[in-house]
């Protein structure tokens, strides 16, 4: 890209100096066109865009947040709330508020939805951002290859608590992660539908909250809650409850991995 920028920074001072009033440049008030220059100023950016565009296409496919990063990913369901994040671990049966514990080196699939307004979820050191929207599911795949604590946050303004809506992402070694799951399970508190309803009023969470268990299917219930009636309508929805995230996008199958290979959601 510097090929377009640098010539301007070099040429402009030279031109200004040479063609300043009283300068050495020849005054040619009627000069207005040159085919060679014309080809250059159109040709170089076109060639550049062809090159950059090709690279961009490849990178975009490769960097698609929906692309799975390996077999057997750890699935974490994320519900964005005002002004906190709820993390559900269906495989482990535990849940947390504002703490995302992840095992090192294992692919992770985050499935996101919102229990409130649209939010944008990011852990800058681990992955890019993706919106979380009510009644719909988005997805983010990542692998953490280094243990440690990383900040994650919402970047989409959602009211008074927005500035402080961040959470800790704790990447643990696989053994530590197992231990963390066991300790969390031992905590005893359970999160059910009533408990979830208690999280809906806007609040800032100062310390992460751990739940030893949660009602299975809570994530789907959260999404389905925004589409009453739609869950049971339409064709062959009998197996819906077995399919993750199908409720939100009305009658469309939820985007599984490689959503670019499935038809776009029919609204």
């Amino acid at each position: 890209m510097l090929i377009v920028i640098v010539p301007m920074f070099v040429a402009l001072p030279l031109v200004l100096w040479r063609y300043r009033r009283g300068g050495k440049g020849t005054y040619r008030p009627d000069w207005e066109f040159n085919w060679g220059l014309e080809l250059l100023i159109w040709g170089v950016p076109v060639a550049l865009v062809v090159a950059l565009g090709t690279a961009l296409w490849r990178q975009t496919i490769l960097g698609d947040p929906y692309r799975a990063l390996g077999p057997d990913p750890l699935v974490v369901e994320v519900v964005s709330l005002d002004w906190k994040f709820l993390f559900l671990y269906p495989e482990q049966g535990v849940a947390t508020l504002d703490l995302l514990a992840l095992p090192e080196d294992r692919p992770v699939t985050l499935k996101l939805t919102s229990g409130t307004v649209m939010q944008s979820f990011i852990i800058p050191r681990l992955a890019g951002q993706i919106y979380a929207m009510a009644g719909m599911q988005t997805q983010l795949n990542l692998i953490a290859d280094e243990a440690g604590d990383f900040v994650g946050r919402n970047t989409q303004y959602n009211g008074l608590g927005f500035a402080t809506q961040s959470f800790t992402t704790r990447v643990l070694s696989p053994d530590d992660f197992e231990r963390w799951v066991e300790t969390t399970k031992a905590q005893g508190t359970a999160l059910d539908a009533a408990g979830y309803a208690g999280l809906l009023p806007p609040s800032v969470v100062s310390e992460p909250v751990l739940y030893g268990q949660f009602t299975p299917g809570l994530f789907d219930q959260v999404m389905a809650g925004f589409a009453p009636g739609m869950f049971h309508r339409g064709t062959n929805h009998t197996d819906m409850s077995e399919r993750h995230g199908a409720a939100g996008m009305a009658a469309a199958p939820a985007p599984h991995q490689g959503h670019d290979h499935t038809p776009e959601a029919a609204q």
Binding site: P29, I41, T116, S120, G159, A163
Partner: protein
């Protein structure tokens, strides 16, 4: 009679001062202070108008006028007043962020939310839009040799609707709160469930009034350019500013409609329980995001294209040379206009669509960089072979070339979804769009004011103060926004009233210093106008051509008469006036004069604006009687106007002749001033064309030119 029937939802606690009484804090004090400034400003204006006896002239010569030149000047006046408010808000927000690291700062989170929402909304809809619209209004008809736009009354109505929107937003300083949903007002946050109260309604109705005004402007200007060009003015002889006006008008016609639709749908959600964009019940905010940016991206080009036109005029004039690559610039402008409708999705790469869709829009975004890059190099090549004068507009132009190209580079970076995933919603993005809009649009408009001010008012602006303001604005911009790129990369999110990371502090301090410099630049610009008005005798350039100009607007007196051209000009080439000067045919008397029809003044437009403002205010506060009454009155005015048949008056040929011959005689008698003496009081607006110094003496009246029937 109960209170709510009369005053809707207004309570005494709705007034900004109530917050100060009930809950005194610095944040409330600032809100009350701003409210007081709005009230006192309005009062001071009323007192000044009364004391000076200016009510009648204001009504007779300005508000009821439908002359495109006066409409244009009023648009620019709105832009400057609103700019003063929004730039102070920007400085307040920077000061808050700087002071908030340990303490939470001096503004409440809610107040900060209102500030970034009004700042963005005002800067786009009530600074940038009226600024470009005013400029196009003033300059375009003069450049195509027309006496007015095609629909002068409609033009005045557009102005008054925009003014109504601006007044509504000023009222929100005093009565009630403004939205905290940002200038893009994304639902469901702006829906009634999450943002009850009047704030979002202020945003909806102010923006709706502005967008309807802009749609009408687009229609009006496109028709004017197609139908009102003077004889010989083919499309490819039009000055480049007129070309960019045409492209912008077409964009306005197509791009404002999705915005009006989106605000109307959001209003239905809020007022009537609809579910276009709500959470659940079939609502889907993704439709809003698409509609909004289907407007929002072309909007960027609506703003920048007229500024590109200004740069083309400025660089050619102050290089005393033809523009390089005229045809290339026209095609580049057209490419940009068309492509601007194909890139809107890059505002939400992060919404979960497939990688192919993202890649498609990312590449389209890069492609739009090609014609933009071509334009930048065309301007550089225009200087080659010229004789460059470093006047204030030219300084702004040089600054533009260097900083805009950097902003373009960050734009190409952001076009890459992979990068956007990281920096979306951060200060990196904020830095990028300010980098495009400030050196591009805002400084373009400032350059345009320096450039065309002598045309509008008959005297030049003080050059020294102009340069001083430039030397505050240009480094001020760099200081205020380049640190934000870095802060964004460090992870600082936008719309955030406080951070706890001490690493941000030095960068925030730099940005604050930049904001202070920008404020100083604005103060110097105001001082420049005041000083210039005081020294208008020395700075006078009534003969109309202070800069050795090239297009038709410089061939007529400054300020131009109501009818613009005594006789419609006949054009045979590009740069028509420059060619006439070169051929020695400038300032010749026409063979004959004819009567000229000019539109009569009318109260229609200001009345419509007044009632539209009352209607919107009624809607904001649910004062239903006011909504009904003002709505009926708007249409009553329209119907009453439709019965008026005597809408034009005739200026007799003798009057036109007397005025024009006096001007021509004065122009011929005055020796041309060379470019060295351009900034001295010798410059009365009769230029000695660069490179044609042999023609120093008074011009001969010459043979009368042919006059068209």
């Amino acid at each position: 009679m109960n209170w709510e029937l009369i005053f809707g939802q207004i309570k005494w606690t709705s007034f900004v001062f109530a917050g100060m009484i009930e809950n005194p804090s610095l944040s409330e004090a600032i809100a009350s202070g701003a409210g007081s400034i709005a009230v006192l400003g309005a009062l001071a204006t009323v007192v000044l108008l009364t004391v000076k006896g200016w009510w009648v002239p204001l009504w007779r010569d300005w508000l009821t006028s439908i002359d495109h030149k006066k409409v244009g000047i009023m648009y620019i006046a709105i832009a400057l007043v609103m700019f003063a408010r929004a730039v102070i808000e920007a400085a307040l927000m920077r000061a808050q962020q700087l002071s908030a690291t340990d303490s939470g700062g001096f503004l409440s989170a809610d107040h900060f939310g209102q500030l970034f929402s009004t700042h963005g909304t005002i800067m786009i809809f009530f600074v940038a839009m009226p600024f470009i619209t005013g400029l196009m209004n003033y300059v375009m008809p003069l450049q195509i040799g027309a006496r007015d736009v095609s629909f002068p009354l409609l033009n005045a109505i557009s102005l008054m609707l925009t003014m109504a929107g601006a007044i509504l937003i000023m009222v929100s300083l005093v009565v009630g709160q403004f939205s905290t949903g940002g200038w893009s007002a994304y639902p469901p946050f702006t829906g009634i469930e999450f943002s009850p109260g009047e704030g979002v309604d202020y945003w909806i109705w102010a923006v709706s009034l502005g967008s309807i005004g802009s749609t009408l402007t687009g229609l009006n200007f496109a028709v004017t350019i197609y139908k009102k060009r003077c004889p010989g003015m083919t499309l490819f002889r039009m000055p480049l500013f007129t070309w960019t006006t045409l492209c912008t008008s077409i964009l306005m016609i197509f791009a404002m409609a999705p915005l009006t639709a989106a605000t109307a749908m959001l209003a239905l959600d809020r007022y009537a329980g609809f579910h276009f964009f709500t959470n659940g019940d079939g609502g889907n905010m993704m439709n809003y995001a698409n509609l909004f940016w289907l407007f929002g991206h072309p909007e960027v080009y609506i703003l920048i294209l007229p500024a590109f036109g200004v740069w083309s005029e400025v660089v050619a004039t102050f290089s005393s040379k033809r523009i390089y690559g005229y045809t290339s610039l026209v095609y580049a402008t057209m490419c940009i206009a068309v492509l601007s409708f194909a890139v809107w999705l890059h505002h939400f790469f992060t919404m979960g669509q497939s990688a192919n869709v993202n890649a498609m829009f990312g590449i389209a975004t890069m492609v739009i960089g090609v014609p933009t890059g071509v334009k930048v190099y065309d301007w550089l090549l225009t200087m080659v072979g010229g004789r460059i004068r470093f006047t204030t507009p030219m300084l702004f132009h040089i600054n533009f070339l260097l900083t805009f190209i950097l902003g373009g580079m960050t734009g190409v970076l952001l076009a890459n979804p992979g990068i956007d995933f990281q920096v979306h919603n951060t200060l990196f993005l904020v830095a990028h769009f300010h980098n495009m809009i400030i050196p591009g649009v805002l400084f373009g408009m400032f350059a345009a004011v320096q450039f065309w001010f002598p045309k509008m008012f008959g005297f030049r602006l003080h050059e020294g103060l102009g340069r001083a303001s430039f030397w505050c604005f240009a480094p001020g911009f760099l200081l205020a926004f380049f640190p934000l790129y870095w802060l964004g990369l460090m992870g600082a999110t936008r719309r955030t009233y406080m951070w706890t990371d001490p690493d941000y502090l030095p960068w925030l301090a730099l940005a604050m210093a930049g904001a202070a410099l920008i404020l100083a630049g604005f103060a110097l610009m105001v001082a420049q106008i005041v000083v210039s008005v005081r020294q208008r005798a020395q700075l006078a350039a009534p003969l109309g051509d202070p800069w050795d100009g090239r297009a038709l607007e410089w061939s007529i007196p400054s300020p131009p008469p109501e009818w613009n051209f005594a006789v419609l000009p006949q054009v045979t080439a590009r740069d028509a006036f420059y060619e006439a000067k070169k051929a020695g045919t400038a300032y010749r008397s026409p063979a004959a004069y004819a009567d000229i029809e000019v539109p009569r003044n009318t109260a229609t437009a200001p009345l419509i604006g007044l009632f539209a403002c009352a209607w919107a205010f009624g809607l904001v506060w649910h004062i239903w009687w006011l909504v009904v009454v003002s709505f009926v009155l708007i249409w009553a005015v329209v119907i009453a106007r439709s019965f008026q048949t005597d809408t034009e008056e005739t200026v007799p040929a003798a009057t036109v002749k007397a005025a024009n011959e006096a001007f021509l005689a004065a122009a011929r008698a005055t020796p041309g001033v060379s470019r060295e003496r351009e900034m001295t009081s010798d410059n009365r607006g009769r230029a000695l064309p660069e490179g044609l110094e042999g023609r120093a003496g008074p011009a001969s009246p010459g043979a009368a030119v042919e006059v068209l029937p």
